[in-house]
Symmetry: C2
Subunit: 352 residues, 2 copies
C-alpha cells in the first residue's frame, strides 16, 4: 500500500491467473495450454529473427502479421487488429467502445477477466445467469445494453453455441456491440469470423495461445468491420505503440503458415477430449459437453476442492474456481493421451 | 469511424511514433535506436528459449528478470516492476496513481506521449515551460500537483539534470509523486535509482530499448518503494496478466549479464555524440548539450523542415516535431561513426 494509490488501485480486485508453481514438476492441466509444441516453422522463424534487428523497434502496425491473418481468414487487412494476447485486445475493447455511464452484459459464469476489466475501466455491468445445465440463455440478454462479451465456447464450461444462434442475437440487438471471445473456437466450435462482414455490431477475438501453441509469446487478434478495428488502433496508439515484439510477430506468421500441423494437433486434442470424457463418465463424473481444450467436471460423492487438492498432491494441477454455482466443479485442460491416462488413474486411486 | 466508438476513442489524439518507412533502405536516425547489435548473450538466450516451452504461458511475475534487475540495481525484488516497454510502464502509472480529478504536471517540451496518456486516462495536466535555452526550471513546478513526469535526460532536448537537483524537487514536493523517466540515462546522466530508497514519492522508469539494444523486444521497468510497485502490479493484473513474453524475459536477463558490452557500447555512443556535436557546430548548427543518444540541433539559415526533407531524400531519416518552440529543430539519433560521417557530408551538400 502506498499513499499514492489511486481510488482505482485501492478498489480493484485484480485477475488471478492459474498457478504456475515452481516447487516441483507438475502435469499442468490448469491453464488450458496446448500439450503439443509449436510448429517447427515457428522455431525456424524465431531462429531467423534472432539477429541484430532486435535493436530496432517492431513494426507498430504489425503489417506482415495482419496481412497473413487477413489472407487466412479472407477478410481485409483493415478488418484485423493484433495485440499482446487476446487479454490485451479484450482490455482495449473497454475504452474503445464503452463509456463510463454505459452498462455492458456478460454471463454469470464465464471468463473471469470480464468483470475485472469492467471494474478497472469503470464500466457498469450486469450478468445473465446460465441455465441450471450451464447452457446459455441468449434470449435473456436485455436490449438496453451497450455491449455484450460472449465467450464461445464458454469458459470454464466448454459449452458452445451455434453460429446461427449468435447471429440471431446480433440481429435482435442491432444497437449492442457483441464481442465474441473465440479463444477456444478451434477445438470443435464454429467461428463467427465470416459473419463479421454482415454486421457492424459484431467483433470476434481470437488468440495464438491455445490452438496455435504460443501462450508464451502473447499474440491475440480481433476481426470486425474497419470502424471497430480503427477504434481499437486509436486506443492502442494512446497506450503503447508497440505491444507486439518482433519475434512474436514473426512467430505468429509462421504458425499461420503451417495449417496442416494446426489441424492435426486440434484433431488430436478433440479425440483425446472425447476419450477422456468417456472415461471420466465411467468413473461417475458429470462431464459437460465441451467444444474446448478442457473439460468441466464434477462428482456427487467428492467435492471439487477435495479432488483438486488430491490431484495436486499427486503432481497434477487442475483448476478449481471457489465461486458460487461452480465451486464443486473442476476445469481440466486436455493434455496428451498419456497425461490424461495418468489423470484417470490418479482419480481412480483418490476415489477408492 | 464506427457508431460504437466511445467518447474517449472519438476525442483522443493518439501518439505518432517515428516513421518506419518500407519504400527503401534508410540510415535510421529517427527513433533513438541503438546502432549496435544486442549482446551475443541475448542471441544465446533467445536460441535457448526457442523450444517447446513456448506453448506455456510466461511467468506472469517475471520472477527471474525482476531478480536480475534487483541484483543489478541493488534494490529489493519487490521494488521492481517490469512491463512491455517503458511506454506500458508509464501508461500503467496513470490509473495506478492518479484519479480523474487530479492534476499532474510535466514540461511543455518533453516526451510527447505524456499528454496522450493523460488525455486517454482522463487526468488533467498542466505544463511547465522550459527556459528559452531549453533548460528545466525545476522551481516552477507547483506544489498542488499530484504527480510530475520528468524525463531525465529530457527528450527531445537531451539536456540532463543532476541527481541533487531532482532530489531537491522530491524533497520540496513531498506530497507529489515524481516519476523520473530515465529512458536515456545510461548515455551520460546519473540515475535516481539509489535515491528511491530514501523517498516514497519517487519512481524511476527505465527501458531495455535504448542502451541495451532491445527496442524490438519491448522490455521496460520501474524501480521504487514496494507500495508504488505493488500499485503498478495491481493495475497490470487488472489489464493483462502476461505482458512480457517468455523470450523477451530471457533476453532481458541475458542483456543485464553482459555489463562489459553495455558499458563499451554506451561509451562508444557518447564518444560518437561528442564528435558529431563538434562537427555540427562547425557547420553552424546550434547543438544542445546532450546526455542522451541523440542531439537536438537547429540552424539559423535553414529551417528544420527543409533539412529534414533534404536528408530524407538523401536516405537519412531524422525526427522533426512540427510543434511550437521546436519546429525549427531536429532530433538526430546517434548512429555509428560511419553513419554520422555520412550525415555530416549530406548536410554539407544540402547547405551548399
Amino acid at each position: 500500500m502506498s499513499r499514492f494509490w489511486s481510488k482505482t488501485t485501492k478498489c480493484i480486485t485484480p485477475y488471478v491467473p492459474g498457478e504456475q508453481p515452481r516447487d516441483k514438476k507438475y502435469i499442468k492441466l490448469n491453464t488450458n495450454e496446448n500439450p503439443y509444441p509449436p510448429s517447427t516453422r515457428v522455431y525456424d522463424a524465431i531462429r531467423d529473427a534472432n539477429n541484430s534487428s532486435i535493436r530496432l523497434y517492431p513494426d507498430p502496425d504489425a503489417t506482415e502479421l495482419k496481412s497473413a491473418l487477413s489472407a487466412y481468414y479472407k477478410v481485409g487487412a483493415d478488418e484485423v487488429f493484433v495485440g499482446n494476447g487476446s487479454d490485451e485486445v479484450l482490455a482495449f475493447c473497454f475504452p474503445a467502445f464503452f463509456n463510463r455511464e454505459d452498462a455492458i452484459c456478460f454471463l454469470d459464469i464465464t471468463y473471469s477477466f470480464y468483470p475485472v476489466y469492467a471494474e478497472f475501466f469503470g464500466v457498469d455491468y450486469k450478468t445473465v445467469s446460465l441455465r441450471s445445465d450451464f447452457t446459455v440463455p441468449l434470449d435473456d440478454f436485455p436490449e438496453c445494453t451497450r455491449g455484450i462479451f460472449l465467450a464461445n465456447p464458454n469458459a470454464p464450461t466448454g459449452i458452445a453455441l451455434d453460429v446461427t444462434e449468435i447471429e440471431a442475437l446480433v440481429e435482435r440487438l442491432p444497437n449492442t456491440l457483441i464481442i465474441v471471445d473465440e479463444a477456444y473456437v478451434d477445438f470443435g466450435a464454429r467461428s463467427m469470423v465470416e459473419i463479421t462482414k454482415k454486421h457492424d455490431n459484431l467483433l470476434v477475438v481470437q488468440t495464438f495461445s491455445k490452438s496455435r501453441q504460443m501462450a508464451g509469446l502473447r499474440v491475440g487478434y480481433a476481426i470486425g468491420n474497419t470502424g471497430l478495428i480503427e477504434g481499437l488502433k486509436r486506443i492502442k496508439n494512446s497506450f503503447n505503440s508497440y505491444t507486439l515484439d518482433r519475434i512474436a510477430q514473426k512467430a505468429a506468421v509462421a504458425a499461420l503458415e503451417d495449417d496442416q500441423y494446426f489441424i492435426r494437433t486440434c484433431e488430436k486434442i478433440i479425440k483425446t477430449r472425447e476419450d477422456a470424457a468417456k472415461k471420466l463418465m465411467e468413473l461417475g463424473f458429470k462431464v459437460l459437453p465441451s467444444k474446448a481444450n478442457f473439460l468441466f467436471i464434477s462428482h456427487d460423492k467428492f467435492s471439487g476442492k477435495e479432488i483438486f487438492s488430491g490431484l495436486k498432491r499427486e503432481g497434477i494441477l487442475v483448476r478449481h474456481f471457489p465461486r458460487p454455482r461452480i465451486d464443486n466443479w473442476l476445469r481440466i485442460t486436455i493434455g496428451t493421451d498419456e497425461e490424461m491416462n495418468i489423470l484417470i488413474e490418479k482419480l481412480k486411486d483418490l476415489m477408492l
